[in-house]
Each structure stands twice: as C-alpha cells, then as structure tokens.
Point group: C2
Chain length 428, copies 2
Amino acid sequence: MHFSNFATRYQKGSGTVRLMEDLGRATTAKGAICQLGGGNPAHIPEVEAILREAMADLTADTQAFGKMVGEYDAPGGNVAFRETLASLLTEQFGLALSQENIAITNGSQSSFGLLFNSLSGQYADGSFKRILLPLTPEYVGYFDVGLAEQPIFEGRRAEIDLLPQRQFKYRVDFDSLKLNQDHGAVCVSRPTNPTGNVITDGEMEALRAACREQNIPLIVDGAYGLPFPGMIFTPAKPFWDDNTILLLSLSKLGLPGIRTGIVVANPEVIQLIQNNNAINSLAPSRIGPTLLTPLLQRGQLQSICDELVRPYYERKRDYALAVIEEVMADLPIRIHKPEGALFLWLWFENLPVTSETLYQELMAQGVFVLPSRPFYPEVETPWRHQEECIRVNYAAPDESVVMGLTVIAQVVREHFQAAVKRLKETDH
Amino acid sequence: MHFSNFATRYQKGSGTVRLMEDLGRATTAKGAICQLGGGNPAHIPEVEAILREAMADLTADTQAFGKMVGEYDAPGGNVAFRETLASLLTEQFGLALSQENIAITNGSQSSFGLLFNSLSGQYADGSFKRILLPLTPEYVGYFDVGLAEQPIFEGRRAEIDLLPQRQFKYRVDFDSLKLNQDHGAVCVSRPTNPTGNVITDGEMEALRAACREQNIPLIVDGAYGLPFPGMIFTPAKPFWDDNTILLLSLSKLGLPGIRTGIVVANPEVIQLIQNNNAINSLAPSRIGPTLLTPLLQRGQLQSICDELVRPYYERKRDYALAVIEEVMADLPIRIHKPEGALFLWLWFENLPVTSETLYQELMAQGVFVLPSRPFYPEVETPWRHQEECIRVNYAAPDESVVMGLTVIAQVVREHFQAAVKRLKETDH
C-alpha cells in the first residue's frame, strides 16, 4: 500500500514507539523480568477495593449501567462529572469554575497532541511558534506529537543544585528563560516526569508571572500532581487561573486502563477540545467520569489521595532509596531529590557509556528502565549530563525493585571498574 | 489566547460539531423531545443484561478487575482480545488472520482520522490523493477529519432505482466510478450510514476488483455490519482480504459509552495504528476488549447478534415503516429500502424547502433528525436530491418514533400544501 506524507511519521519508529515496544517486549520475555520502565502506577489494594465497589454499585443499577455503557457522552465529556469537579476545584482554587472550564479526553496523551499543536507551529500572522520547556529533562511523551514539519519544542537546561545525601535538584534558570513571541506556550509537568522533581511554589509563581506578562499560556501537566492523585511528598500549592491550562488524569490514581484525561482551562480552550472530540472521537469514554462522580460527590477522592495513594508511594520511594543506599554505596551516584510521582532519576556522573547503552544492557538482563536522552527535545544543545541518567519506576513490587536496582548497580559498577582499569593501563 | 492555524479547524463550527451541539441541546431542551437524530443504538434489555453480567463477573474477580482498570494495554490494543477475534475472523473469512491483523482504537471515529489522512493528501511523489466515496450520501462523520488544506473526499452520485411500495435503492454507478491514481483509497459504509442501504455482494465484488486492479486500498466501515453487530436484514456476505481495511466497532452492539473501535487490515496498516496509538494515546482503553473477550471465547457474541440485536432492529424498522404508512399515506415520500443499520432515509421529492430548513423547523418542535446535505462531501456537484432527504434513527422508543414521524408528516404536509396554494394563486 502507498501512504501519504502524514503517515510516514507513524511508519518510522519514533522515540515513544520504540520505548513502548521495548516495554511490550518485557511482558512476553522469558526469564525473570524487573519492570521498572514505563509509568504504570502500582496496584494499591485498598484503592482498587474502593474502585471495585464503585463499579459493583454501578453494575447493580440497571439504569446507571445502561447509561454508562450504552450512550454516547457529550463531546466535552460527562456533564455531571464536570459540574461536580468544577465545584471541588472552585473550593481548591478560590476561583469560580463551571463545567465550561472542564473537558474530558481519552487520556492526557490525547490532550497533549491537541493542545501542543494548537499552541505551536504556523500562526495566521506568519510566525512559527514553539512550546518552551523551562526545565528539561521533561516528559518524553510530549516530543512526538508535533504535526508541524519543524520541531515544536524548545528546552532550557536545568540548573543543578547539589544537595546532601548524594541528592541533587533541578532548578529553573530564569536568566536564560528568555520568553518571547516565538513561544506559543510554556509547559511543565509538576511533579516532573522523569525526575520526581516538584517545581517550587516560587518557581511556579515566577513562571506564571512571566507567562502573563508575555500573554502566553502556561500548561501544567498535573498527571501525578494536584489536586489529585496528589503524589507529592513536599509542600506545594495547587493553582489555576485563566491563563493556565491544567491537565489532570485518572491514570495514576490507579485507572490507566480506562483512559480518562481532564483539561481545566478557560472556556475558549475547552471549546477547542470539545470540537476536537466531536470531530475525532464523537465523544470521550463515559466510564471514568461515571465511576468517579459518586466518589467526588461523597468527598471520598481527597481522602483516597491523602490517606492511601500518597502514603503508599512515599513508602515505596523510601524503600527504593534504602535499597540504593545498600547496593550502590560504592558508586558515584546522585539521586534527584524524589519529591513526587513514582520515579527515581539516577545520575551516574562521568558514566563511561551513554545511558542508552546502559539501558540496552539492562534490558538484556531483564531489567527495564528508561534512558535519559529521550527526555530532552531533539533540538536542545547536547551536554554530557543528558546521557548520564536513567529513570526508575519504583511502583513495581519490592522484590523487583531490589533485584532491578542490584542489577543496575552491578552493570554500572563494571563500567566504572573497566574505565579505571583502562586508565591504569594507559598510565603504564 | 492566540492559537495556531492548526487550531482554527477546531475553533469554527464544522458540520460534525454543529450536529453534535444540536444533539446536545436535545438533552437539555424543555418540553417533549423526540430524539431521532444521532446514531445512538437502542437499549436492548436482554443485551444489556448479558453485558452487565460480564461486567459483574469481572468486578467480582479482584485480579481481572485490577488488570482491566489498572494497567496500560499494549499500544495496538489488548492482545488476548485480538487473538480471540483473529480466530473468529479466520473462520468467517477463510483466511488465516492473527493478532497482527487487528488493532484497537478508542472508537471508529478515531480510526477514520488516522486512516483517511494516511491514505490521502500529499504523497512523497508530489501527488495529492483523495478518498473516493463511490456511493454518496455517505457518513457525515468522515468529512471533517481531513488535515490537508484541500478537501480530501470525492463523492460519486448514486444511481437511483425506484422500487415498489414507495421505496428506492441507491446503486453504485460503475460507469462514472473512474478510479485512478488520484485516489488514495475507496471507502464505503456497509450498511450505509445514513441510508440503511446494504451495498450488494455484487457491487462489493466489483469495487474490490477495481481497487485491486488499481492497487488502491478499500476501506469498509462495518460499524453496523458484518460480522458484528450484524444489523443487516438482507442476505450479505462479510469479507476481508489484504487490500481491505475493515472497520468494526462495539458501539452499535450497545457499547457506545466505552469507545472501542477495531481495525482489521494487513500488518502494515496495523503497525501504523499501533504507532499512532502509542504517540497520541499511549494505549487504547482496556474496558471493551476485556469485557468482550469471554463472550467471544464462549461463541456468545454471534448469538447475541443473531438472536437479539438483529431481530430487535428488524422489529423497530418494521414498526417505523408501519407508522409511516399510516401518517404519511398522502405525502410524496419515498423511503430508501431499509436493509440495515438503524436509520430510515426519507426522500421528499420536490420538497419546497431544503432539508436544512426542514431540520431546523423540526428541531423547533422538539423533533431531532438529520438533514441530507451534510452527508455529501462539500466538493460534490450539487443536485436537488441532496436537499430533499432526512435521516431518522428508529432505535428510539416506539412512542418517540410515532410522535416524531407524525410531526415530520405535519411539517412536510404544510410545505407541500403551501406550495400548491402558491401555485394556484399564480394560476389566477
């Protein structure tokens, strides 16, 4: 078959595609596998029990079940859910929101495509604008959605603050931010995927101000953040205003299989999403919103986040840190301060191979992680740090975390030892 | 906010958007409403009971439920479902299919966008190709998905065979088909949305041959068709070959709320969809495939289609025809031979107003139908017939069907009577 130019971007293996294929290979691989790649959340038994009960209630109700599965929803998404969520967010943000500020999509990844392409590329005034990422590394899933022929992302290198206990933290370099009319939007994930960083309230405030000043929208990807699922282990304020496009999701709450993304924005953006849904999907799925509405109405969602989700990942994070303490004590490792999400971002300074090579070697031993380079937009000026890190998902069962981190330690240790040996040989 | 050129197509109200908004208005309108617009399938109690039971089984199974909601599926869609469906289709088509011939999307509407844009628009050899619709009117949902700046659809006017009992049937005009290298694909819905036509086996055979000869893929939109949901009331053979892209859906089986589309094609096309899913959605929803797999495995799906779905719509069709017989006996009406799907396509020859006007007038009286013009691609040469029809969804409750058709009869009658009166006045 012959395909159009449009199709070629889906024919060649993009970064996202390759990583997804590698992940897929893990599920069919022989031998023991440590799945520390991907972003799948944990199965938290107490949370799943609540969701199961909610589904059982719906299934027991002939009419409610019939409506959920048997009727197309509104193109903007379930109205009852949007209204309920709007009142919750009104309380949280102290701004009056209505259902016209909320749209549902089939997962945040679908929201990204529409929003990034709507806020970058060719403009009617002849300009070509890009999405500015003020703090790279940033989520790999952004980089393949652009439909324009030129790259639509521009990344800024993070400042690195070295911290005690072999930790470090990325910081926005406001001096080199240089926000201007070449930028259609600014985007940050908070907590950051892949690093587990939580951009501080101060940094957020400064970004907001810079965006307002230039009249450029600020996209905040809150897939792991506030107000839900609330996987943040450090003080941080949720916020929204009419220049902010806040992206939320039910995935990290434990529902990645049902594909529910949520966009909170001004009505103009919501209308755009609604029209896109109508044209490209008729309507989004009705399952997630229907399942969550009663929990929202009973105020149960907040307690799920505060009492079950956050403590669960906090424990998992502490466990992974303790394992690293034990198995990597002798290695030149730094860990990004793990303030949120479900990742550890490990930095092996002066690693003698690229993290891509490390990634391949680990995969060959059944340990799946993600290499660091794909988390930077292609056009960003290369720097050595881009090749020295890996992302580890610590939501996996404890035994996988131990085994995986042990294998990582061995492989990294061998590389450093070999380098030392080579150095000595050169000395002779 | 400033938006890119890409966004403008989602800012203005397209045909699809307008129709969806009108439908949305119906759900919030005051007074009695007859919802005969849209394509929502009926709530068939026996079918919903089976689906409810399947969901109850899943919900009772901690592990199965956890997997369904709590894990991202493969980018190409659920592998167990695809394997099970592949064996079923292997039996049906007499060709060996595997899971590599099947991909899952979040509904057929999402499949359309990717496939139409991949098989039309700009090609590497400099050519611009279009999707040929050999038998218009054709599904309105196709027309807004094109990303190219020029129109991507080209329609061929149907031949009209007049039949007894005030019926007619559209037929492919093979003389004017003129399939050539300006066409990237040929597409038909079977049964046809909006007409309820079922393109004959002979016509399908001829289309297949013409497509093969020109090496152009044939897209068959089987949303209402074969092998499931099987809403076809006339003898028709399902078919597939490696030059055919067959689009199936779980929506008309009674599951529009869960958004499950299925593509059956050669592995090259499946890979394209899989990569598109990875980039633009990570993975499709896991609900539909998980829910349906046990029914497929037990061979229950076929009996649901044969014993519940088809007879149900056949009865509804007969009921709507009987109502028309009664309330439109005096009107110059012709009905497209209703061979499948859930629509009646009513043709009021020489209707003194356009069907758009009729549509608006009916809406003002609480009766929602769809006008005929939007079912033709914009570029097709206008002909009067394009403005003389309406689509009526007869899946609504019987009382809505009666009331709606009665109002339609009244409004149409008044137009014809007024025209006669005007004519008489002119005579004097």
